[in-house]
C-alpha cells in the first residue's frame, strides 16, 4: 500500500510500497523512529484511515471495498484497539468501558462474566466500578487491554501502549499483553519506538522513511521488502 498526504508542493509520502502479511497468533512489533510512518501504517491496518493506493486484506476480506457502516462493524468485530493514552471514556466506569465494544454490537449475549474475567486477568477486579478517570495511567492501560480483547478480535492493534507510562508499569503492561496473546492465541500488532521494552517477540517490522523492512537494526543499504 501507499499513503500520501496533501497535494502538489505540499505532498508528503507517508508510506511507500509497504507490503507484508501476518499470521494468526503472531506477536508483531512495528518499530521505527518518530515520524517514520509506523502510526500511519497502524491506522491503515486498523481501518481508521484509507491508503491512497493498495489493499488491506484481513481474514480474506479486502477492507478497501467496505462502506462506512461495514468498516465500523468490521473494526468492532475483528479488531481490538489499545491506544497510547488508553482512551477510555471518562463518563463510564471501567467495567462499562470494557463492555462498550460488545454493547456497540447490540449483542443480546450476556458478556458481563466475560468482562469481569478479563478485568480479573488484567488485575482490575477491584477497580471495575470506578469511573475511568479515577484510576491511574497504568490501570487505565490495563483496562484498555481488556476492552481491546472483549470481542475476541482477530487482531489486537496497539499504538505505543507503554509510551505514556513509567518503566515499571510499562514492563507490567508488556508482560500482560504477551501473556494474553499467548493465552488467547491472539494476533498482536504493536507499534513502538522502544524496541527493548518488548524483549523477545515473534516478528519485528521496521519502518524507515515510509518503507517497511523485515527485522531490525538493518544497514541502510539493505532493504528487504516483505
Amino acid at each position: 500500500m501507499n499513503k500520501t498526504y496533501g497535494e502538489g508542493d505540499t505532498k508528503v509520502r507517508a508510506l511507500t510500497d509497504v507490503s507484508f502479511s501476518i499470521k494468526k497468533g503472531e506477536f508483531v512489533l512495528i518499530v521505527g523512529s518518530s515520524g517514520s510512518g509506523k502510526s500511519t501504517l497502524l491506522n491503515m491496518i486498523g481501518l481508521l484511515d484509507k491508503p491512497t493506493s493498495g489493499q488491506v486484506l484481513i481474514d480474506g476480506t479486502n477492507t478497501i471495498t467496505l462502506g462506512d457502516n461495514q468498516v465500523s462493524s468490521f473494526r468492532n468485530s475483528k479488531l481490538g484497539f489499545i491506544f497510547q493514552f488508553s482512551n477510555l471514556l471518562t463518563d463510564l466506569t471501567v467495567l462499562e468501558n470494557v463492555l462498550l465494544p460488545r454493547n456497540i454490537q447490540h449483542s443480546n449475549q450476556n458478556v458481563m462474566t466475560e468482562a469481569k474475567n478479563l478485568l480479573k486477568a488484567v488485575g482490575l477486579e477491584s477497580q471495575m466500578n470506578k469511573r475511568a478517570n479515577k484510576i491511574s495511567g497504568g490501570q487505565a492501560q490495563r483496562a484498555a487491554i481488556a476492552r481491546g480483547l472483549i470481542n475476541n478480535p482477530a487482531i489486537v492493534l496497539a499504538d505505543e501502549p507503554t509510551g505514556n507510562l513509567d518503566s515499571i508499569t510499562a514492563e507490567t503492561i508488556v508482560q500482560l499483553m504477551k501473556s494474553m496473546a499467548k493465552k488467547l492465541n491472539q494476533t498482536f500488532i504493536i507499534v513502538t519506538h522502544d524496541r527493548q521494552q518488548f524483549g523477545e517477540v515473534d516478528r519485528v517490522i521496521t519502518i524507515r522513511d515510509g518503507r517497511a523492512f523485515e527485522g531490525e537494526d538493518l544497514p541502510h543499504e539493505m532493504e528487504i521488502k516483505v
Binding site: S73, T90, L99, N103, I104, R147
Partner: protein, 396 residues
C-alpha cells in the same frame, strides 16, 4: 439500558454547567410564553369578565331601535329564566342627561352624562356592577342615584348624601327634571364599570323619558357562558317576527376587544420568537458539548460505533434537554400562573387579571419547546457524525 442512552445521559450529567444552561434556555422560553399568557390573555379575559359583569351580561338583547317595545321586560325575563342554562335576566335602559349639583352655594352644572336605569333587585342577580359601589350603597329607591367616580370628581367631589339634579329630554322633546339623593359612588378597577355614568332606578328613567313598559336591553347571565350562542340562537328562533337583536359578550364587546386581540397575537409571536432564541442557545450549547466530546466520539468510532450511533447519542441529549427543560419551564410557568391567580394579580390598581389554566396551550407550549430542543440538536449531532476517528482522537 441501551449504551447510547446511558452514554448520552452520563455525558450530560457530567457537564452540569452546559446541561443547566440548556435547560434554563428552554425553560425561560416556556416561562416567557406563560407570563405573556397570564398577563395578556388574563387582561383580555378580565375585560370580557368586567364588560360581561357590568354592561353586557353573557347575552345582550336589544332591538334595532335600541328600545324594546314589542314585549314587556317581565315577559322577556321570565322567558329567559325558564331556560336551564340561564341563571338570571334583568332589564336596563340607557339615556343621557345633563347634570348639576350645588356645592358650597355654587352650582356646578350642565354637562352631559350617560344615565343607566336598573331594576335594583334583578340587576344584582345579573350584574356585578353593584360590587363597584365603594362608598354608600347601590340604587334602592326611585329617587336614589349612584354616581360614577369620574362624574363625582367632575362635579367637584360629590359625596353620599349630596343632592343632584338630572335633566333629560323625553320622547316628546320636552325637558324632564328630577332631583336625586346620592346613595353611592361607583369606582371599578380598570374603569370598565360605571365610573363615567350615573345609575338610577329603571322606573324613574322610564317616567322621565315617558317610556313606560319599555326596556332598553335585557342582560342575560348564564350558568355556563359557553352556551351563549345556543341561548342566543334559541331566542332569535323563538321570536322570528320581532325586531330583536341578540349578541354574545364577544359580539357586544367586539369593538373593545378586536384591537386587543391583535395585540395578544403580536405578544404571542414575540413569545414564540423568544422560544426560537432558546433553540439557538441549545444549538450553541450542544455544539460546545460535541466539541468537548470530540475525543470520545473518535474513540467510539474507532472501536466500531457507526455514524448513526453517534447521531442517536447527541439527539438523545437534545431530547433530555427538551424534556427536562419543558418540565422545569412548565413548572415555573404553572407556579407563576398559580401565584397570579391566587393573588388576583393586577397592575397599579388596574383590573385584576382573569387568570386561567389553558391546559391545551400549556401542553402545546411544552411539546413545542421539546420539539425545538430536539431540532436544535440535529445540526450538532450531525456535525459529530462527521468527525474522523483519527483526527477526533487527537483532540484533547
Amino acid at each position: 439500558m441501551d449504551y447510547r442512552i446511558q452514554l448520552a445521559t452520563r455525558m450530560l450529567a457530567n457537564k452540569r454547567g452546559s446541561l443547566l444552561g440548556a435547560i434554563m434556555a428552554v425553560s425561560i422560553g416556556i416561562l416567557v410564553i406563560h407570563v405573556n399568557f397570564v398577563i395578556f390573555q388574563g387582561l383580555y379575559d378580565a375585560i370580557i369578565r368586567d364588560l360581561s359583569g357590568y354592561r353586557f351580561g353573557d347575552v345582550l338583547v336589544t332591538n334595532r331601535e335600541d328600545v324594546i317595545t314589542e314585549k314587556s321586560d317581565v315577559f322577556l325575563v321570565n322567558w329567559f329564566e325558564r331556560i336551564p342554562y340561564v341563571e338570571a335576566a334583568a332589564p336596563r335602559m340607557s339615556s343621557s342627561a345633563s347634570i348639576n349639583v350645588t356645592k358650597s352655594g355654587k352650582i356646578i352644572q350642565d354637562f352631559q352624562v350617560p344615565v343607566v336605569g336598573v331594576d335594583p333587585f334583578q340587576d344584582t342577580r345579573v350584574s356585578t356592577v353593584h360590587e363597584t359601589v365603594s362608598e354608600g350603597q347601590y340604587v334602592f329607591s326611585r329617587n336614589s342615584i349612584v354616581v360614577g367616580s369620574i362624574v363625582a370628581r367632575d362635579l367637584g367631589g360629590v359625596t353620599v348624601g349630596d343632592n343632584l339634579q338630572l335633566k333629560i329630554v323625553n320622547r316628546h322633546g320636552e325637558d324632564a327634571i328630577k332631583r336625586f339623593i346620592v346613595t353611592g359612588i361607583a369606582r371599578s378597577p380598570g374603569g370598565q364599570g360605571f365610573d363615567s355614568d350615573v345609575v338610577i332606578h329603571i322606573d324613574t328613567l322610564r317616567d322621565m323619558l315617558d317610556r313606560n313598559k319599555e326596556t332598553g336591553q335585557i342582560l342575560v347571565k348564564l350558568n355556563d357562558p359557553t352556551k351563549a350562542d345556543e341561548v342566543k340562537d334559541l331566542f332569535l328562533r323563538s321570536f322570528p317576527n320581532d325586531d330583536f337583536k341578540a349578541e354574545t359578550i364577544e359580539e357586544s364587546a367586539e369593538q373593545t376587544l378586536s384591537g386587543f386581540r391583535s395585540g395578544i397575537a403580536m405578544i404571542n409571536m414575540i413569545g414564540y420568537f423568544g422560544m426560537m432564541s432558546s433553540a439557538f442557545a441549545v444549538v450553541t450549547i450542544q455544539i460546545m458539548l460535541v466539541s468537548s466530546k470530540t475525543r470520545e466520539v473518535g474513540i467510539m468510532r474507532a472501536i466500531g460505533a457507526k455514524r448513526k450511533d453517534i447521531l442517536i447519542i447527541f439527539l438523545f441529549q437534545g431530547m433530555i434537554i427538551g424534556m427536562v427543560g419543558a418540565g422545569v419551564g412548565t413548572a415555573f410557568g404553572l407556579s407563576y400562573t398559580f401565584y397570579a391567580k391566587e393573588t388576583k394579580m393586577s397592575f397599579q390598581g388596574s383590573l385584576p387579571l382573569q387568570v386561567s389554566y389553558d391546559w391545551s396551550k400549556i401542553t402545546q407550549t411544552a411539546i413545542m419547546a421539546f420539539g425545538l430542543a430536539v431540532i436544535a440538536s440535529i445540526y450538532p449531532a450531525f456535525k459529530a457524525t462527521k468527525l474522523q476517528p483519527v483526527e477526533a482522537m487527537r483532540s484533547v
